[in-house]
Every structure is written in C-alpha cells, then in structure tokens.
Symmetry: D2
Subunit: 424 residues, 4 copies
C-alpha cells in the first residue's frame, strides 16, 4: 500500500493548525462558505485512463518510469489520486487500450477505491494491430461502407464494455476529416457520419448518453467532420435526446469565447460534458488552469449559472473529465494540479454574488459586473478546497504528500523504469 | 455622361483582337466554356451603398474626392460600375444612411442603369442624431425593452423602405455583444435578441427573406450575441423558413474553414447570402481576392457544388454582395477589382471536373482531388470573364476604361474634392 | 473640489478596521510584505491624456458626459485619479491633441496634484485640419520626402513641447504600413523609416529616450512597417543607445508569448516601456487584467526578474503607461480598475519565491516551478495594494469613493453632458 | 530500373504537340519567357530524407508501402523524383536517421542521379536508443552542461558527416523550450543556447553556413527558445557571418506576414534558407501551395526582388528545401506536387513587371500595384515550368508518368508493404 490512512492522518495533523487559521476568516465572514465546501465535496472529476502515462508529440516521447502496465494498475493509480484528493472518484476508459477481461474483478477493484466508471471512449483514429480495415481516410465518414461498419461495430462494442462496468455514457471523438482541399465532399462526409452515429445511438441503453465531441483541427489539418460546436449541435439534434455535445477546452480556433459556447449549449439543453485541459496554441493538452486560469473561472461561472437556471445537479448532470497530456511532468502530479485548478475555479464561480451581478447587468453597469467577477476570482479560495478535501477524508496538500511518500520512486521500483502505459 | 456606348465601343474595339486570340483556345478546347460564359453573364454582385465612399478606421479616415453626396449619386456610381462590367446590377441600401424620399424616382433612376435593389440593411450599431435611446449597450439584446422596441421598429421601417423599392430581403447585422466578462447574461441576451428578431420576422412580406449575419468580434471585443454560424443557425431555425444565415468572409476567428461552413449551411438549407471581402487579421474589409484568392475559389467550389445538388439557380437563389472598405484605394476602382476577383473564382469553380472529383474522392485519391481543384485554379480564366462582359455589353477591361476616361477627376470636378459619402 | 482629504479620511476611517484585519496575516506571516508595500508605494503608472474620454470603434462612439474639454481639465482628471489611488502620478500627452499654450502654467497645475509628465506621443496616423500633406500612405515611410519632412518636423516639435514640460521620452507609434500586397517595397519602407527616425533621434536631448512602438496590424491590414519586436529591435539598435522598444500588450499576433519577448528585450537592454491594456482578439484596448490576468502576472514576473538581474529601479527605469479605450465604461472608473489590476500583478510578481524558482528550474522540476508561480498568483494581494494606497495618502477603495462622491455626475454638471474630450 | 530515358521519351512524345501549342503564346508574346525558363532549369529544391516515408501525428500513423528501408533507397527515391522533374537535384540528410556508413559509396550513388547533398540536419529533439542523456528538458538550452555537451558533440558530428558527403551547411532546428510558465528562465535558456551554438559554429568548415531555424510552438507549448525570426536573428548576429536564419513556412503564429519577414532578413543579409510546406493551423506540413498559393507567390516575389537587389544567384545563394509530412498521400507524389507548386510560384514571381511595380509604388497607386502582382499570379505559367522540365531532360507531366509506370506498386513489390522509412 503506497498510501494509507495513517499517512493521511499524519500529513493532515502537521498542517491542521495552519489550515484552520487560514479557513477561519471564511467560516466567520462568508455566508455561503459552508455550502461551497459541501458542493466541493460532492464534485468529482473523472481521470482518463490514458492520462496515467507520459504523453508525447509527433516529435518524440520522453517516458518517465513506473507507468501502469495494465488496466488494474491504472485503476490503482486513479485510486491513489482519489485517496489523496477525494475529488477524482471516477475513471474514464479508452477502448481498445483498456479492455477489461474480467469486468467484475475490475469493478471490484475500482469500488475498493470508491471509483465509478465515467464515460467510455471509442478509438477510430488509429489502426490497431489486429484490425481488418484502415482508418487512414476516416472511420464513421469513410466512403467505404465496410470501414464504417467496422467503426460502428467498434463503438457498439465499447458501449457493451461500458455497460459491464457501469458506465452511463460513451464519448465519440472522431478524427475524421481531410488534410487537403478537395479531399472530401463535406456534405456527404457529414451525412455518412450522421448515419453511422445513428446506428451507434440505436445501440445505446436507455439510461445512457452519447457525447459528440468536436475539434477544430488536428490530426486532420484542413477540415474536421465534427469541427465546431455548431456541427456537434447539428449531429446531437438530429440524433435525439440522449445525444449531447462535449466541449474540450483545447479544441477551438484561436481566441474562441468558450464560455459563451457553454452558455448557449446549456440553454439549448445540449451540453453533455467537459474535457478539461489548457492550451496556448492548439490542443496543447496542458494542465488545467496552467495558462488561462481566468478563462477556466469564466467557464465555470457560466456552468454554475446555466445549470442552476435549469435546476441541474452540479455534481452529476454533466460529465466532468480531464483530458491532458503530460509530456514533461509526472502524470500523477500533473493530475493533482489539474484537479485542484478545476476545484479552485469551481469554488470561485460559486462565490460570485449572482444577485448583484444580475442587478449590475440590468443597469448596464459594466464596471460593477467586472468587479463582481474579479472579486471572486481574486479571492484565495484554497482554504475552502483544502477543507473540502479534509472533510472527505483526503489530504490537505495532496501534492506534498505524494512527494513526501516518494510515490513515483516506489512505482518505479514496483513496475520498472521503462514501462509504457498501455495504449501509448 | 461620364461613360457612353461610344466609349465602350472604342475601348472594346482596340482590345478585341487580342481578346479573341486569348479566348480562342477556350472556344476550341473546352467543352463547357460556353456554359461558363453564360453563367458569368447571369451572375450579378450587389454593391452596397456604403462602399462608394472612402472607408476609415478608428485611427482616421483619408477621404478621396468626388464621393457621392446623395442616394441619387450613389445610384449613379453603381450604374457606372454596372455599365463598365455588366456584373454589378444591384445595389444594397443602408438605412438610415440612404433613406429614399421619393421611392419611385429612385427606382426609375436605378432602372435606367439596369439596377435592381438587393437586400436592405438596418443599422442599430450607431446612434443617429435624432435617436431617442442609445445603442451603447446593444439594440435587439438590450436589457431595456424600450430600446429593443426602438430597434425593432427601425428594422420594420427598413423593410418598408425596401418594399417600396422592390428589395426582397433584409440583412440584420447586429453589433450587439459585450466588451467585458460579466457584462452580459449570455442566455438572456440570446433570448431577448431572438424575441426581437421574431417581431421583425413577423413583419416580413411573404416573398421576403431575412438574413441573420454573424460576426466573431468587433466592435464588441469580448462576446458577440450573433457570433458564429452555429448561433446564426440557431436563430434562423427558431425564426422560420424565411430566415437564413448570411456569411461575411471577414467575420470569423483566425484559420476558420469557411468553405466547410458554407457547405453545411447549404446542406441544411439555411445559407441565405454572402458578403464578399478579404482579410488577413480580422474584419479587414479588403478587396475580394486580394489576400487569399484560393480560399475564395474553394468557397465558390462549395457554392457551385452545394447549389447544384439542390437544383438552385446560381444567379438568383443566394444573395451576393460585396462588403468592403476602401481606405487607400479609389472606391470605384476597388469595387471593379472585387467584382472581377469574384467572377474569376466563380468561373474557376465552374471549371472543376466534378465527376472526376467525386471519383477521386470515392477512391480516397487525395493527390488527384487536389490536382483537379488546382488545375481549375491555375487556369487563367480571365478571357472567359472578359467575354462575358463583352457579350453583356460591358468593357473588356473596365478598370483601364475607368482610368482612360478619367472618371475620378470628373467626379471631383462635379461633386467637389472634400465630399463625404453620406453615412460615413 | 471634487475630492479633498476629508473625504479620503472619512472613507478610510470607515474601512480601516476591516482592512487591518485582512492585512494582519500579511504583516505577521510574510517576510517581504513590508518591502512589497514600499515598492507598491513607489510604483506609478502614467495615464495617457487620450484615455480620459470615451473611446470608439470605426462603427461608432457612444460618449458619456463630463469629458475633459481642455488640457487643463485632463490634468484635473488625472489629478483626481492620483488623489484616489496615489499610483497614477504621471500623465502622458499626445500632440497635437494636447498642445500646452502655457507650459509653465500647465506644469504648475500638474505639480499641484503631484503629477509628472511621462513620455510625449507624436501623431502621424491622422491628418489634422491645418496639415499641408496627407499621411494616407504613411508618414516616416512615405515615398515623398516632403511628407517625411513634415512628419519628422512634427516629431521634433513634440520633443520640444515635452522638454518644456519636463518629459524625458518620446513614444513614436507609426501606423505606417500597407493594406495590400504589392503596395509597399518593404525594404525601402524600412530604410526610409529608419532615416526619418535617425533625424528625430538626432534632435533628442541628452537625457531623453526614444520609444519605438511596434504593432502587428491595424490600421494597416497587410503589413506594418514597425510590425513586431524584431523590427523594433532592429530600428532601436541602428538608432543608438537612447532608442528602445516599447511593448503594447495588444499589438501582437494571436497567441504570442509576450512575457518571453519582454525577457529577451530586457536581456538585450532594449526594453524601454510599456503600454498596458488587455485584449481577446486584437488591439481591443480593454481594461488591464480584464481578460488575461495571468498573462499580466507572467509579464510582471519577467519584468521583476529581468530588472533585478540588471539592478534596475522598478519605479523609474522603464516607462509604465496605460493605453486603453473605454467604449462602454466611465473612463475614470476604467482607469482605476486598470491601475489596480497592474498593481495586483506587480505585487504578485514580487511575491514569487525566486530562489526556490531557480532551484526548481535547475532540477527541471516543472511541477514545482508552476506551483511557485501559481502560489503567488492565487494569493489575494489586495490588502497589500490597499495598504500601499493608504500609506501614500490615497483611498482604501478608490472606485467606491469615486462612486460615493458621485464624481461623474458632478463632472457632467460642470462640463456638460455632450462634451467630447479633445482629440477624440 | 523503375524509370529510364525510353519511358521519358515516350511520355514526352505523346504530350509534345499539346505542350507546344500551350507554350506558343509565351515564346511569341512574352519578352522574358526564355529567361524565366532558363532560371527554372537552374532552380533546384532539396528533398529531405525524412519526407520519403509516410508521416504521422501524435494520434497515429498510417504507413503506405514500399518506403525506403535504407539511406541507399532514399537516394534512389530522390533520384527517381529528379529524373522525373529535373528540379529535385539535392537531398538533405537527417542525422542520426541517415548516417552513411560508406560516404564515398553514398556520394557515388547520389552522383549517378545527379544529386548533390544539401544542408545536413541534426536531431536533438528525440532520444535515440543508444543515447546517454535525455533531451526531455532541452538540448542546447539544458541546465545540465553534460547534456549540452552531448548535444553540441552531436551537432559537430553531423557537420563531419556532411563534410564527407559534400554538404555545405548545417540546419539546427531546436525543439528546446518549455511547456509551462515558470519552467524556464528565458534569459538563461537563451544564453546557454547561444554558448552551445557558438561551440558548434566554431567547428564549421570555412565554406559552410549554419542555419538557425525558428519555430513559434510545438513540440513545446508554452515557449520556444528559438521562437521567432527576431530571436533567430539575434542568435545569428551574435554567432557571426556564417550564421543565418532559416524560414520554415509553418513555424509562425497565425496571420504572420512571412513575406515581410523574408524581405527584412534579406535586407539584413541574414536569410539563409527555406523550408517549404503549407498549413492552415500550425506546423501542418502540408504540400507546398496546397492551402495558400498566393502567399507562396508573395514570398517568392520578395525573394526574387530581395536577391536581385543584392545581386544574389537565385539557384545557389539560398538553401531551398521542402519540409513536409505526407500523412494521407503517397510521399513521392506529394513531393512532385510540392516541387511543381514551388516552381509555379517562382515563375510567377519572375513574371512580375518590377519596373512598373516600383513606378506604381512611387505614385502610391495601390490599385495598380495589386493589378501587377495579380496579373502575374493569375497567369497560367505551367507551360513554362513544363518546358523547363523538358529542356532539362525531365517529364512533361511527372505525376502522370509516375502513375503510368505504376511506380508505387513496383516499390512495394521490391521493398514490401510494411516497410517503415528509417527514422520514422
């Protein structure tokens, strides 16, 4: 056991006094501090199975050591994160990288850490070794019906795997598109993709959702067949009430106003879930909040506002996932940083005085509206986030404890220095 | 008369031999040359009334001379362009800059040049001297219902003016949006805008269209309430079958694939019209085809393909307009350049071997597909465009004739060197 | 008198207790809190004279009321800001909008508020009513030597005005460039601009600096003759040791890493000054820190590090100016917001544990390096900034006091509701 | 032998009549047609050894078959291209992917095809299997001097390999940079990189050049240590007269004006060479001229103008290379398309009436200047390019002949369907 309750207790004990003195002004001054803490405790962010190993670029990959060699070890890693921060209580699997051979055993292992299974992810952007037909020219959009068939069947297969584990959603991200003008008949590519999605949609269990993820570019560099929220909305509308748009923060053109997109999709009841990460140039897949933390806050500001307007449950009515790539960081440390950045943004959004904000808007008081948002953003909410962790049984400072316990060194000694996480 | 048939005849006579030798390979070799010429003759691009004077930026404006001082003179200018190129047979008015006091007289004046009245344009992005309420914080989105009322009434008023002149469409471009995070409740701004548009829509004559134009940014620099094609599509869908999206080439985020947007909107039967211009950075409003001529060709490639797939009439079933700003060029010369660039792109698109292209696509022959498009684009179609002008009664080289006749100098002597086109 | 010491005292008295309780953890816990406060007291940001009125876009302008009608009133406005925040102790004039007829009287008026005169700004991007030759096709780059002469003489004239007031620098921002491919011979435009600048440089007093400001685009939309830091660096290097690059945050291509540019220019001893603002799309000229506050912090992080590495004085060795446009806000309120955002970023940068940061870098501990920066950024430094204001004799909450005293209403009653700030 | 002179003769014979009729107007009408053809014959574009196999993205790679399995086969492939188009007369090697074990034999093989060795390329952006120290955190910038030593030695080793083959330049492209704010001390990274480059520079033979390539982003997603032309210029200036900047078209921020950069670098005598490709979003590495052919023309317009102004030899005084990635095309077909697109742009640039252009510029005749450039660009110069190929002994239509001879099928049968080009 890399981490047990004794470690946690010792760690928290050492930091408790300092934490309490930082928390004190909150519990005294702030009316809704208690509510914010409760919401933070309930709020869980799924960890994708592919984020547990070192990522790479087309130019190279520089693996660290101790990466999980199996689905079991991936669950162990997420379990470790969740034990530390009590906010990573779900795992999002990627098929075929994480096919569970014994679903029941896998479920039990996850349950032992308190982990649920979030959306399952299909993969038709790569050719697998045992695959009959190539996705070089697309999958659900392919001109050849037999390739589409293969891709449809794979997605249905993914749903079946998800059912066995207790997932309730499938995320379909397609790299389908074109690299050169002329390559694709845009209309036909759209129609073929739609028909393929309809077949997958028909295979959805009743209580499942389908998330249609969009992306502006990469790995296709001229067009993407699900390229923006407008396209994803069209697909989801045509598919039916179980289909939703999934927003990945890195999948937009430069300067896009993502928070407005979020607000519109929520208004239209078509926002399904989120992939968190951060970026400066494209789908850079950096740690959440590491480049544009104010944008992350503004997105949460719309999420809180839009979900409350519909009476949605923050914790359960949207899919919250991280989707990042850890090229130069320890993946587990990076995920701890991402989760904390998301929690901070969420807490700040909960702190916004919405009544005053609407009042300022009614009076076109732009200065006041900005003050209200920035007041929340400039507030140091880390004591609230730490308190939520403490109450949920986690560590006051997960990253410090992770380092203190020398987790990575132990993982390397257990798993080896040259392991590569399955799928990467 | 700045230009009469004698001038045209002399000009064409001098260039005829050279033109015919350039045209010869076409009429011999190319199967569909004749069809392309006919389509070019039929294809007309509307000139917006505001493009007849020198444009400006927030940093300054450097007017040339001889700008039209009245609606009558604007019609004269478009008439001149149309006489030269026989491809500018419509004018798009902007209210309140161009309110016709005597609609019948204006119609007759236009008819004398063979000009029709294209879409009318409303203006709620500026405050006029006699206006009761300010649009500083928006118009159709405004929190104050009386401001919305004023803006709705203005739009209905614009429709009435258009009816009197024979227009069949209104273009609604809204600068509504916000400059700062927090300023706007995105959902409510959307709903208020939608309700306002619904009132305007209700006032549309039966045979009219409403074009909902979108723009990514400027003059609002944080959010635009009709900010992208997805938003415009939502408005148009909710409004009804007479509402369409209008695409302005300069209204996108960096790197947007506009041709794909065009293809999707056509597929969804929601593309209504076009504002042509070119740009490198934002809504630069440069001469059509002056920066990215290949993109212009690719857009026409989708237009031709998508319209043909629906059996639409290229010349009449979409609204074709220029929307540019002439900061450092003679406005009339610039418009001649824009129209020619559009005609070239259209002719090249007509030249594409579509059967071969679809065949290449079916075989995933990306190299061949690119060859087919680039073969059309690399072909010098200027002889076809010139022949279309000649047959329609225009000039072989409109720009040369414009300069030869010293039109600008004459306009300055008639109208003065310090005139400012109404509205600018 | 809109604001006197009594108002300030009452305001501060009411807030003092609350302020002190917020400040308490700082003065107890944080080793360098006192040093940060002192540096904040010394740090002054110049207000540009053109930022005191309502800005506009090419689409319109929606003026508020009570705008300054003269240079005297502009100084009064900056004086008011400085009285409130004690951090706006300088004004940056723009010639010809602010030509002082009686330099001595103007100096005395400024001195009465404790204001110094920062860099003077020339204007060759507009034609003035009394101007002989037009800048339509550029100024210092112009093909016509007589236009260049006029522009050079204007710049020298601006220096003379600045000398009379005690300025020590001239900022040369050129809109020179081109709107269309082909318009300009890039090399010759560069050489002509350089020669023009050399003549202006020769007229600089010994203790003056010249700031060569660059901008990527607008109002020219194809090329700018001083378009990026590389170009500005070339000009400044060729000019000599008194010439420096000036960085305006809004003058870059999308996604530019401005903090790295700052670091390189400081390293090369060629960074001269700053124009603060914020933006999402282009030169949006929004309130500093309103869109990307983390970027603002990262820039200050480099400024502090780079200036310290050279033993530079933070307060005096670079030119600090705001350059923003207040389209939808009260200009004075906006400036108070901008100044505070800048102070916050500066304070956070001062808070960074630089020794630990360098240690983390030496160990390639990317996670730790991020933690160190974000720890500073996530800290609520507003008590420090307020304390600095208090010690310097300003208001604990300048914006609240501004509103409490109903300053805008009073300005409108003094100056009128329809005034337009000179120059706009 | 996949291709011999008999094949060429037959191919050309069949197309000769049609070619001659297309060429006829040129040789009659156009004064400098003969000169253009001669320049085209002399103009050679180097093929990089890594472009001969199928490229990939971080999401996957879909190899075609028949890829070269050795340096020898790579030379055969370039030899084949050169036999077809007589414009690919050089190969640019990448070490360590292409280490020649017998330099003399390799040279002879290349000579048998008429191929020279262009710039050699070092690789410190990946870890090789046998490498002691990792480049995970950079190479020439690394905080650890032993890593820098390894990278310096590798570069010197590359020079030695190049010397043995007759290369005259080394291209240093560094992926060095950082993924997160805080990770890097920008100044120290610059200084360490400079010192490392100085050691490599010191090892350059007298008649060699060093090309310092810059890139805005990827694979580092926060900062690049040689990130823009300004940085590259600084390095090259500090290194000395043998150091130059290399421009890769895909290595810029969105909307960059690359042609202006080219003009400035040529003016400063610091432009060394080019990597051709095309892109819509980032370093997409698409076929040259496939996305923005007008930009390619504008770049050549500056190259021709700037080189002529310095009396440089177009064919030999700059390094011309392709750097592209063929994800969905046959690499050899793609390279034939790229070379032709480059030749077309070059021919069009040679066609520009420079005297008239300068005259228009002197008169600020923006319309005329645009007409002059677009007249050249709209001209179909393919007959000139074909004639150049014909005279040089190549094929009138290289791509058609490549397909007619069924080259790819033959390569697959020789080399296998599952080969992977060395290095990929």
């Amino acid at each position: 056991m890399l981490l047990d309750s004794l470690h946690l207790d010792q760690h928290n004990q050492q930091r408790l006094e300092r934490h309490q003195s930082r928390l004190a002004p909150w519990t005294g001054d702030v009316a809704n501090a208690e509510i914010i803490i409760e919401k933070l405790v309930a709020f869980q962010i799924a960890i994708p199975s592919w984020a547990l190993g070192t990522g790479g670029t087309r130019f190279g990959r520089f693996p660290g050591g101790g990466e999980p060699r199996s689905l079991e070890e991936k669950i162990d890693d997420v379990g470790l994160l969740h034990t530390l921060n009590r906010a990573s209580g779900a795992i999002s699997l990627h098929i075929p990288w994480d096919i569970p051979t014994d679903a029941k055993a896998i479920q039990q292992r996850a349950a032992s850490y308190g982990l649920a299974f979030d959306a399952v992810n299909s993969n038709t952007f790569q050719d697998q070794a045992d695959q009959n037909l190539s996705y070089k020219f697309g999958s659900l959009q392919h001109v050849d019906a037999t390739v589409r068939r293969q891709a449809i069947d794979h997605n249905i297969d993914v749903i079946r795997h998800g059912e066995a584990l207790g997932s309730k959603a499938i995320t379909v991200w397609l790299s389908d598109g074109s690299c050169f003008p002329g390559q694709l008949n845009f209309r036909q590519a759209f129609q073929r993709t739609l028909e393929s999605l309809q077949e997958i949609y028909a295979a959805l269990p009743n209580d499942w959702k389908m998330f249609v993820e969009y992306k502006a570019f990469e790995p296709n560099f001229y067009s993407m067949t699900v390229g923006d929220w407008g396209s994803s909305y069209l697909y989801a509308s045509k598919l039916g009430p179980k289909a939703y748009t999934l927003v990945d923060l890195g999948h937009h053109l430069p300067n896009a106003n993502i928070e407005q997109i979020v607000a519109i999709l929520l208004m239209e009841e078509k926002l399904g879930g989120f992939h968190f990460n951060d970026s400066k140039y494209g789908d850079d897949d950096l740690t959440a909040g590491s480049i544009k933390p104010y944008q992350l806050f503004l997105i949460f500001n719309e999420l809180v506002d839009g979900m409350d307007a519909r009476g949605m449950n923050h914790a359960t009515d949207l899919g919250w996932m991280i989707d990042a790539s850890h090229n130069v960081k320890d993946p587990l440390e990076d995920l701890l940083q991402s989760v904390e950045a998301i929690q901070i943004a969420y807490a700040q959004a909960l702190l916004v005085d919405r009544a005053a904000l609407e009042e300022a808007r009614e009076e076109n008081d732009v200065v006041k509206a900005q003050e209200l948002l920035q007041d929340a953003f400039r507030t140091d909410v880390r004591p609230l986030v730490a308190e939520a962790r403490l109450r949920a049984g986690g560590a006051l400072d997960p990253l410090a404890l992770f380092r203190q316990l020398d987790v990575r060194r132990k993982l390397i000694s257990q798993r080896g220095a040259k392991t590569v996480a399955t799928g990467l």
